[in-house]
Each structure stands twice: as structure tokens, then as C-alpha cells.
């Protein structure tokens, strides 16, 4: 490098055209890379290899913020913590009570499914993940979470928060994973309008927290305030998860399709924990159920619930 460096200040005119040529070379290289990356072809492999380099860097940058977080937790006001604990305990009790009712409904559902000879529902499991304390570019529509392949995450698993669907696992590293948000313009989600059972596809709008529905028939039964839930078509997302609220429907006369805008239920601001739906819990279940005891099933049900 140094011998080229020293040649830079002198011979400017001759150097200039070669610089232009090099600039063009790099610009074309960038364009090609971006195009391939956008189209999602072989750069995918380069990319996943390069994120292996990025992961330790992410961890290194996050470490001081993580430390600050634990320190502030340690020195948090005792009375505030106690109040928070009480609130959480109350919340937990309420949720438990609700779950007891749901358990009953689930058993009933199983019986009915048995009567109807319908296919059994897949046993799903959840894994709680925490957002890494890092900000990616807001236009990447990605989140980083602190669980990865070693904790059982796989590409394509749905990600939820307590209000609704957030996105799906997009890329899995050893101890972290990136989640593609529903708002990514590349993302399409099969949804259903809860009220009218109308099925359609919701695309990411590229604006954070917003979806757009672009292929609605003009006479589609959809109104402002309708709730969109996942329809389960495509087999990736569980049916019935709340997704978004319709906030605007426009029917331009003369156009072939009506359009709608919907706001995501999931609130990404302030959320630190997300749920990833994993469905590989079946083997673990079998192991735990190999200890047959009539009394423990009740206990187990409670454990599963909590």
C-alpha cells in the first residue's frame, strides 16, 4: 500500500483517469452486490459467512450496554422493584386463571377433534428471546435477538410479542438470529379479516409497523377497524394469530383493486422480549410423559401453563 500511497500526490493528471476507472469499477461492483443481495441469490451464502464475522463484533459492542443494564438493575430502587413485583404477581394470577379455562377448552377441543377424526394439531412450543441491545439500520427491517441455532431456532419460525405477530426468523447464527419484520417490503403474509373471513395477502409497506393490502377486490368486505389475523395458509404461521388493525381503505374508482393500510398490533418500541414459536418440542414431551402418574398430569398441565 505504501508505495502506491507515495505516488498519489505527484502525477495528478495521469492518476486522475485511473482513479475514475477505479471508481467506476467499485461502483459497478457495489451495484452488482446490491442487486444480487436484493434478489437473494448466491450473495446469501457470502452474507451468512460474513455474519459469522459480525457476530463476535455485535457481542463485543453489546457487552458494555449489557453491563450497564445489569448495574442499573442492581441499583434499582427497592420500593420500585417491590411495586413492580406485586403488579407482575397480580398479572400472573390473572393469566393463570385464564389459562385454566383455556386448558379446559383445549381438552374439549382435543375430544371434538378426536370425534371428528381431524388431524391432530402440531404441538408447538415457545422460546423467549431477548432483543440484542443494538440498533441496526432502520431500513433493514431486521431485529437481532439473543438466541440462535444452538438454542433450537430455525429459519422461518414465527416471532410474536405479547400483542401480535412480529415477523419470522430470517437468519440463524450460533447465538443470535435476525428476525425479518412484517413491515419489510419483501415480506408477504397470508391473512384473514377476522370479521368477514376474507382471505388476502398483506405485504410489508416499508414503513415501520405498517402493512398494505393491495390485491383486494373492489367489493371486498373490509372496513376501517377490522382486525387481520394470520390465515395459516402457506403453513408457516399458525392460523389465528392477531396481526394488524385496518386503518385505511381506499377504493379509487376505475382501478382494478381496492387498497388498504393496516397498522401492526405488535409494538416494537420498548419491547425487549419476544416469543419464537418452535415446533420441535414433541420429543421432549414424550420423555416427560414417560413417567405415567394420574396425579402428576394435573401438575404438569399447570407447569406447562405457567
Amino acid at each position: 500500500m505504501s508505495h502506491r500511497n507515495s505516488s498519489l500526490p505527484g502525477g495528478l493528471a495521469a492518476d486522475f483517469s485511473s482513479r475514475i476507472a477505479r471508481l467506476m469499477f467499485y461502483i459497478v461492483l457495489c451495484m452488482v452486490l446490491m442487486t444480487f443481495d436484493f434478489r437473494g441469490q448466491w450473495v446469501e451464502r457470502v452474507r451468512s459467512a460474513s455474519t459469522l464475522v459480525a457476530e463476535p463484533l455485535w457481542l463485543a459492542v453489546e457487552a458494555p450496554f449489557r453491563l450497564a443494564g445489569t448495574l442499573s438493575d442492581r441499583w434499582a430502587d427497592r420500593s420500585a422493584l417491590l411495586a413492580e413485583r406485586d403488579a407482575l404477581a397480580l398479572d400472573l394470577n390473572r393469566s393463570r386463571a385464564r389459562l385454566l379455562i383455556l386448558d379446559e377448552i383445549e381438552r374439549e377441543n382435543d375430544r371434538l377433534r378426536g370425534l371428528l377424526d381431524a388431524s391432530a394439531t402440531i404441538d408447538r412450543d415457545f422460546q423467549t428471546v431477548e432483543l440484542r441491545q443494538l440498533d441496526l439500520n432502520p431500513y433493514s427491517h431486521r431485529l437481532l435477538v439473543n438466541r440462535g441455532a444452538s438454542e433450537g431456532l430455525r429459519v422461518g419460525q414465527p416471532v410474536l410479542d405479547s400483542n401480535g405477530l412480529v415477523g419470522q426468523v430470517d437468519e440463524v447464527l450460533m447465538h443470535s438470529a435476525s428476525v425479518i419484520l412484517l413491515s419489510d417490503p419483501d415480506h408477504a403474509l397470508p391473512v384473514k379479516v377476522e370479521r368477514s373471513r376474507l382471505r388476502t395477502i398483506a405485504y410489508g409497506s416499508g414503513r415501520s409497523g405498517e402493512l398494505r393490502l393491495t390485491d383486494l377486490p373492489m367489493n371486498a368486505d373490509i372496513e376501517v377497524g377490522d382486525v387481520l389475523i394470520s390465515s395459516g395458509l402457506g403453513g408457516r404461521f399458525q392460523p389465528g394469530l392477531p396481526v394488524a388493525d385496518v386503518v385505511e381503505v381506499t377504493r379509487v374508482p376505475g382501478e382494478a383493486f381496492a387498497r388498504a393500510r393496516a397498522e401492526l398490533r405488535a409494538r416494537m418500541q420498548g419491547a425487549r422480549h419476544l416469543l419464537v414459536v418452535t415446533e420441535f418440542a414433541a420429543e421432549e414431551r414424550i420423555e416427560t410423559e414417560e413417567v405415567p402418574a394420574a396425579e402428576t398430569t394435573q401438575l404438569q398441565a399447570e407447569e406447562d401453563g405457567s
Binding site: 502506491r4 461492483l29 457495489c30 452474507r47 459480525a54 459492542v61
Partner: protein, 163 residues
């Protein structure tokens, strides 16, 4: 070119810190105002340190940024390659500008970079960014003098130690 023997270590540390600042968590309201640290550091080292003068440097740094921030591979690289090219083109002039004029040049470079990013963001089908997005270069210029003084001081200390 006595400037070039300013610490290699300072360069590496400043780039590492710049990367850290780039992905450091900020409240959502401030996120759009985040100065483009790596660009500022590249400008400093190019003008004052006589380093990072090759387009390849900009390209490599840009790719690293793309991987770290999850943008399209080549987005930051394109911006930084053009930045380094423009810097090199007008280096002789910008170096001897009075400070306020130099700051204006930095602002123009950062704004130009934003335009490049805007173009790529729009091509990807994203929505138009909020108006705060354009404040980031202004933040960058506000940070610029302090960064300049800090890096200058560090470099001088590193050189004093090495002698």
C-alpha cells in the same frame, strides 16, 4: 508527509469506536439523528492523517458496515467509495480551508452520501424517510469539530510517545 506516522493504533481504535457508536442502542427518537460516524472518521483520517486514501479502503469499510447494520451488501460501500473519491479529488483544497469552510465541505459530503442512501432505499421499495432523516448530516457537522480536536490530540500524543 510527516503526518502519516501518527499512530496506527489510534486509527484502528477510532474505527472500532466508530463502528460501536454506529450500532449502539439509542432511543427511537434519536435513532434517525445518529451521525454517520464512520464517514466522519474516514474524512478526518483522509484529510489530516493522510490515510484511508484508497477507494478500496472505503469499499472494505462500507462492506463491514453493511454486514454490521444489516443493510444491502454494497449500500454503505457505494456511499463510502464515492466519499473517498470526492475527498481525494478535493483534498488539496479542503485541507487548507478555514475551519468553518471545512465544516461546510463535510456537510456537503455527508448530504451527498444521504442522497445516495436515499436512492438505494427508494429502489428497494421502502417508504420515504421522515424529515428527521436529513438532520443526521447536520448532527454530523456539529460533532465534526470535537471529533477533529479529539483525534488530533490523540494522534499527537501517540506520536510523542513513539519518539
Amino acid at each position: 508527509m510527516s503526518a502519516r506516522d501518527g499512530g496506527q493504533g489510534v486509527l484502528a481504535i477510532s474505527l472500532a469506536l466508530g463502528l460501536a457508536l454506529t450500532i449502539m442502542p439509542l432511543p427511537a427518537a434519536l435513532d434517525l439523528l445518529r451521525p454517520y460516524w464512520i464517514a466522519l472518521i474516514v474524512i478526518y483520517w483522509n484529510l489530516e492523517g493522510g490515510r484511508l486514501r484508497h477507494l478500496g479502503h472505503g469499499f472494505a469499510l462500507g462492506l463491514l458496515l453493511d454486514v454490521m447494520t444489516g443493510t444491502l451488501l454494497g449500500q454503505h460501500a457505494l456511499g463510502l467509495v464515492i466519499l473517498v473519491f470526492l475527498l481525494e479529488r478535493f483534498r488539496a483544497r479542503i485541507r487548507f480551508f478555514p475551519p468553518w469552510q471545512q465544516a461546510t465541505a463535510v456537510l456537503v459530503l455527508l448530504l451527498n452520501d444521504r442522497v445516495i442512501h436515499l436512492w438505494i432505499i427508494a429502489l428497494q421499495g421502502n417508504a420515504w424517510p421522515a424529515w428527521q432523516w436529513w438532520l443526521a448530516p447536520v448532527m454530523g457537522v456539529l460533532v465534526w469539530p470535537w471529533l477533529f480536536l479529539l483525534l488530533d490530540a490523540l494522534r499527537r500524543r501517540a506520536r510523542a510517545h513513539s519518539h
